[in-house]
Symmetry: D3
Subunit: 323 residues, 6 copies
Amino acid sequence: MRDTFHQPVDAARVPRFAGHATFMRLPAVGSAEGLDIALVGIPWDGGTTNRAGARHGPREVRNYSSLMRSTHHVFGTEPYKVANIADVGDVAVNPIDLLDGLKLIEAGIADIVAKGALPLSVGGDHLTTLPVLRAVARNRAVGLIHFDAHSDTNDTYFGDNPYTHGTPFRRAIEEKLLDPRRVVQIGIRGSIYGPDEHDWAKQQGIRIIYMEEFAARGPEAVMEEVRAIVGDLPTYVTFDIDSIDPSMAPGTGTPEIGGFSTREAQQMLRLLDGLNLVGADVVEVSPPFDVGGMTSIVGATMAFELMCILARQVERQRAVSAA
Amino acid sequence: MRDTFHQPVDAARVPRFAGHATFMRLPAVGSAEGLDIALVGIPWDGGTTNRAGARHGPREVRNYSSLMRSTHHVFGTEPYKVANIADVGDVAVNPIDLLDGLKLIEAGIADIVAKGALPLSVGGDHLTTLPVLRAVARNRAVGLIHFDAHSDTNDTYFGDNPYTHGTPFRRAIEEKLLDPRRVVQIGIRGSIYGPDEHDWAKQQGIRIIYMEEFAARGPEAVMEEVRAIVGDLPTYVTFDIDSIDPSMAPGTGTPEIGGFSTREAQQMLRLLDGLNLVGADVVEVSPPFDVGGMTSIVGATMAFELMCILARQVERQRAVSAA
Amino acid sequence: MRDTFHQPVDAARVPRFAGHATFMRLPAVGSAEGLDIALVGIPWDGGTTNRAGARHGPREVRNYSSLMRSTHHVFGTEPYKVANIADVGDVAVNPIDLLDGLKLIEAGIADIVAKGALPLSVGGDHLTTLPVLRAVARNRAVGLIHFDAHSDTNDTYFGDNPYTHGTPFRRAIEEKLLDPRRVVQIGIRGSIYGPDEHDWAKQQGIRIIYMEEFAARGPEAVMEEVRAIVGDLPTYVTFDIDSIDPSMAPGTGTPEIGGFSTREAQQMLRLLDGLNLVGADVVEVSPPFDVGGMTSIVGATMAFELMCILARQVERQRAVSAA
Amino acid sequence: MRDTFHQPVDAARVPRFAGHATFMRLPAVGSAEGLDIALVGIPWDGGTTNRAGARHGPREVRNYSSLMRSTHHVFGTEPYKVANIADVGDVAVNPIDLLDGLKLIEAGIADIVAKGALPLSVGGDHLTTLPVLRAVARNRAVGLIHFDAHSDTNDTYFGDNPYTHGTPFRRAIEEKLLDPRRVVQIGIRGSIYGPDEHDWAKQQGIRIIYMEEFAARGPEAVMEEVRAIVGDLPTYVTFDIDSIDPSMAPGTGTPEIGGFSTREAQQMLRLLDGLNLVGADVVEVSPPFDVGGMTSIVGATMAFELMCILARQVERQRAVSAA
Amino acid sequence: MRDTFHQPVDAARVPRFAGHATFMRLPAVGSAEGLDIALVGIPWDGGTTNRAGARHGPREVRNYSSLMRSTHHVFGTEPYKVANIADVGDVAVNPIDLLDGLKLIEAGIADIVAKGALPLSVGGDHLTTLPVLRAVARNRAVGLIHFDAHSDTNDTYFGDNPYTHGTPFRRAIEEKLLDPRRVVQIGIRGSIYGPDEHDWAKQQGIRIIYMEEFAARGPEAVMEEVRAIVGDLPTYVTFDIDSIDPSMAPGTGTPEIGGFSTREAQQMLRLLDGLNLVGADVVEVSPPFDVGGMTSIVGATMAFELMCILARQVERQRAVSAA
Amino acid sequence: MRDTFHQPVDAARVPRFAGHATFMRLPAVGSAEGLDIALVGIPWDGGTTNRAGARHGPREVRNYSSLMRSTHHVFGTEPYKVANIADVGDVAVNPIDLLDGLKLIEAGIADIVAKGALPLSVGGDHLTTLPVLRAVARNRAVGLIHFDAHSDTNDTYFGDNPYTHGTPFRRAIEEKLLDPRRVVQIGIRGSIYGPDEHDWAKQQGIRIIYMEEFAARGPEAVMEEVRAIVGDLPTYVTFDIDSIDPSMAPGTGTPEIGGFSTREAQQMLRLLDGLNLVGADVVEVSPPFDVGGMTSIVGATMAFELMCILARQVERQRAVSAA
């Protein structure tokens, strides 16, 4: 069966700048049928309260993902040999109608889930994670490992609008898509709307690890706690690019200085290995505010790191099944 | 009374880079009370089907409008001596809820109109002109002089969405805000959705002057026809920055090459002098896609040209009243 | 048969920023089999003597070609209804070995020609036109309509190197791929290496229309002469983006001020209608030197104009065949 | 009294991109009357020896300060509830006459001081700190906490010019505005004019903490020493944005690699809490050399951090007064 | 003697990106001794009232002048064969002291004049032309052909400052460096400070050809008048890059839309041929505000055009001398 | 003798933006005769497999090296007082012919070596280090300290091409220019072509210190091992700018996130002091992909650090000779 796994274009034969831009230079396929992991774009920023542009994220992350080679240099993992992975294109979106947009995204991801593939999506603003969770957590609440500068658990904006990129995880908890005691947020920082902004989240049981605590304890200690919080149960990983410092990822709608270095972020993502993941995403890459493609490169590399973690999980599960 | 007219900061005393950025360096005032012309921002791009960013237009047009001096070098008009003009700030907007956004914009402009001032707004995407027309043409249909690369008279997008920046003038005609026989569009060009895309508009009686016709006839002949079409009745002027060539105004959501030069555009705007205008706007300046502020400079200068035309109209009307 | 023609994604249903970037949002297909016109990229700048980067041209022209709609607004032509057109991907290239690169490009285009499709390629530097001509003019010399700031008929560079982007048309004439009396160059300008730089070309019979002559006579008169020169015999069209003024197309390796406006260029390309074309290209779009994608938009639009001309030719020929 | 404190626009009601750009979205007021803290711009770079542009700093820092929310997430401080703060506009400047410029700046800040407000200024080049010190230290020498890549204690430039952005602190000590034994400079680095460049400063008693020492000891140890040096006596804080690494703050006239991370800088500024401050500034933000507004975001955030420290001081002093 | 003329590096042997950046790739020489034409930089913008940066002009114009080849394609002139030309470096400047700056520039140009060479300088802001005129018109008033968006004949700024880039030609007339009846300004446009702003200039006898008149009459008719105005007497040519449209030359301090196209400008400069020139300059290229080097390319090409005109004059004069 | 050493222009007298751009503002000299250290550019990227542009590196590094002052602030070393250093220009290159390019570069460096100077070159892509090593290690294999994100020890690309910037050190070992047991690579990271990509290098005895190991051990411990590996024997230092994090050095062809900070890199370069170096280089600065000159500043500073190390070695050796 592994002989039929999709393989990326080889950069030692076809230069990276050649050919259509797909995620990781993998084949573009029409559906997730037969895939273990589906790379999918969600070109939608309908929930953005300030600077839009994340709708252009999937295209540019695809573009710069041509820089990724085939093997993870720390794990030694060859993801395309242990899992069947492809680029299934973008889910349908509606840039004009927020509620229709949410439905279309949920449907797109639900189709991937229904075909048995793990969705690894590239946004899109952070509100896209809500319909993704509606698709992956339809039957039971899941845990969440959430890298971000912002908690995204506010209630409403601009009157009583419940759906923005500042509210998805409040909605997800209200909709019982997430088990709040298995939700952990890492990297939260920056000025806030009021001293009680995070009270609701904490009352639900969410563990917020502010940047200051992270800086004091370091990636290893923090991730040990994170792993303890989510345990072995199904967990989703969401990576907001604004968790990274704006010097490394300037192309995002709501930058906050003092963020993770990419080195810290890579170290944390690698420490996700061995968990029980139901999907992952990289969101808030906003090319119109990027400079020199720096943010898209970071986004593509984070997607590569997550893809390798998912591929290793597929490999383990296949080994168990085979045994 | 003229002694109390608002005056801009003098660049020969206070350098242009100093001070808060307001339109034309005019005072920021709380309402249009007592104004002849109200400069107002509409920071909203909720109708944008492709590249958003016009929400940032008012701020950057204000920023670059610091380059405008106090006198029109061709007319010799000193607008701030013949009309009371100020920056009334931005209308309220809702970036998340399209229908609420339309209502808020209409209310903001209606307040200006109610106070007896002519609104000169800076968008925002072209859908903003619909609620502006709802405010200025509440009582009777007006004529329209429409500079644009696109007719913006399509019906629906993304299913059956009636409100986008590709549809405002179809809605305005349906709502009887515009008299289609007094609507003229200049500069239309670029690939279209189908050979019948403009049939509806033409059937209503809209006169479309394609770029090719404009290039053959020149600004003077075209504007003579335009003036004949709208006549002496109340007329609104809408200037989409994408009517200008993208080399001169790259910062816009839907660029089409082969556009007006700024020289042609200035010549045309000056030929609006003497008409009976009820307001005007400059729309679709999208700073995230701009390079070096070029588009904002063009937008600011077009707003200055329109302001001078409106000020001259105020001056004439005041002379008539005084007589 | 027309029911099976490839169709682009409809921007009124799927927004332009969504989906994989292919030429004109057409399907990516594996070969030119069954096509009338093959859109193909040549990501190679091995012949560049100064500023490289045209290797990235195909990808960015694809990206910005999402802005093209389905119908030509002047001709009313719907290219995808009268011709079967698709994106066949990029030809193989070798960024390290010039001679191997030339062979690979020739082979890629020859395959398109062999399958009966007209190649419309997007470069790549201007040396790519040499192997293209080797493929399309294998059996008989063709005419050439050449829009450019430079004659590209020099002999050698950096010692005795015969193959650079400054020499392709000298080589093509020497190789009898071009009939020099049916070669016309339009837009030539800028400082030159010596007063005799163009003597060889003129001695061969090439007609050089310098920018100054073009400016004096205008597009219509010039194109009338061009059409007379090439006549009804097979002719290739090559469009160097540096023929366009650098303010409109800054992203190119050898900019020369005082170039065509895009309006002039579009007018000229439309006047190619009715000729007997064997293929066409747009070359020297160099994204690393572009600002805000301006050059890629121009390149994509010029490719759209050429595609419509080719589609109209296909339609005429099919009508003749059917008669 | 607190009911009358100025409040910023609320981003959950009015989006950040809307409205005039003022510091922290606070009201623009005509004078410092009644304020505890006056945010003021100094748009002047008359002392710049290399790359000018800091004259544009206040406008862009205002622009990006729209990203600041109302509460400090570590202290929990709500600055606008404990102190009356507003944007008093820019001081008058003269871009053509250096000595007149120095006088105008001093007068502008002296007016703020006379009205009992703490000045928090945004430059402008570092020479602006000299006239600020003339205003705040008119009656007695103050201490200085100075974050910078450069000591700025040189003597003269370009012949015998005593006033440049490389000399302000030498002048300030000569003018007895600073008590050199209470001056500490942190982050000094980069190539120097000669091995004795800092000798004069050290001889005066200035404590220079080079970047290498900072890197070895860390923010906490360094700030403990800094606090001991300045003690409880009146102290001014000056923050040169080039103390930050150029990857995080590229928009400055004299970048030096190897600078502070923003995380380190924020940590240090928070450790200023409890000192006896007479004012503060952020200088050398040069928008023409910035990329993507990165430097202006950093400048705005540093100003926010300093404002919170000053607000906490106001709160403490008011509590003491009330007791 | 011609065997000893300086020659530029040959781009067909050494690529344009190689080697030190000098004007036109000519040798850098220590003095103007033996030169017919001295290319010289004036890196100074001390007179700039708004956006500084022209101090960086000489370096970037040098950089992009590598694109110039050795022969003028219209005249067929080979400037380096008919005149001895070199890059004499930059005159000394003082960025901190305006009056000292003026003296240094005058001294630098006076040295060139004393050695018998024609100065062709690259600024720097337009105030640099005043000390240049002090050097070249020391003994008798000269005529002036002045391409610009602005008349630059204002009196004072920021109080009573007589020296800014808005005042040089008023000062030059007061100092009897210019014969006002032989001064012609072409391209003037944009908003002005008052309806009487140009009255003084006109009263002196200056002929102002506004852009609108230029657009109506065209380059040939305008230049015929210009040539008649200056006649055969000694004349200086000053070319402000902001005379060019900002779409073609965005990198300048005071952009005004509706400017010359480069094609128009080149046509006008070529019509200077045969006049009696005493020097020329290109000013106000401001790299920090440029995009993609577009303005520096235009500046370099305008300098090349002027250099060819000067070289042809040298050739004629040498022929006369030899006869 | 020291009286005759070349000295850079003094920035306290002549501003940094003035004058021709040479390395460190040193004199441009015709040959390495009499020099201790020759700063030389290698404007060539013929070996680049993905994004070209390093050919423009020398010019921009020269441009930004104007920011360097004369003294190292940590060592207190004044390099221009202890060593005779100048800018010898660029070696000849051939952008069209790879093998000719390699020969020309080798010849250029060999000439420097023959004249007794230490070459400090600025590339250019990393393939340029191969001909440099052919020149400096002609007589005996040397050691190598190699800072890079990539091992550059692959075998072939695009068929059987042996010479690319991914292969130089494999070739150098095969050619016995390097003693593999004295080769150490630091900073290697990023996805790889296969789990065995580095096997060949390790089998030769190369010590690869991956970024993860570096991050765990720190600069001091790592450099202690590095110094032990190379010992006292002749050693070359090659610094690929992509070893630095892309946030600090975005302008490079093959960016990999998670790189060195400049602070770490400076610390490591300073720990090279006391070794026995035969030359050094900084490569892969690619200005077309840079933003705001950030990468060129880093490249210039790294060259300054290396130059100081080499100057200190010259000083020591001269002291020994004198003894």
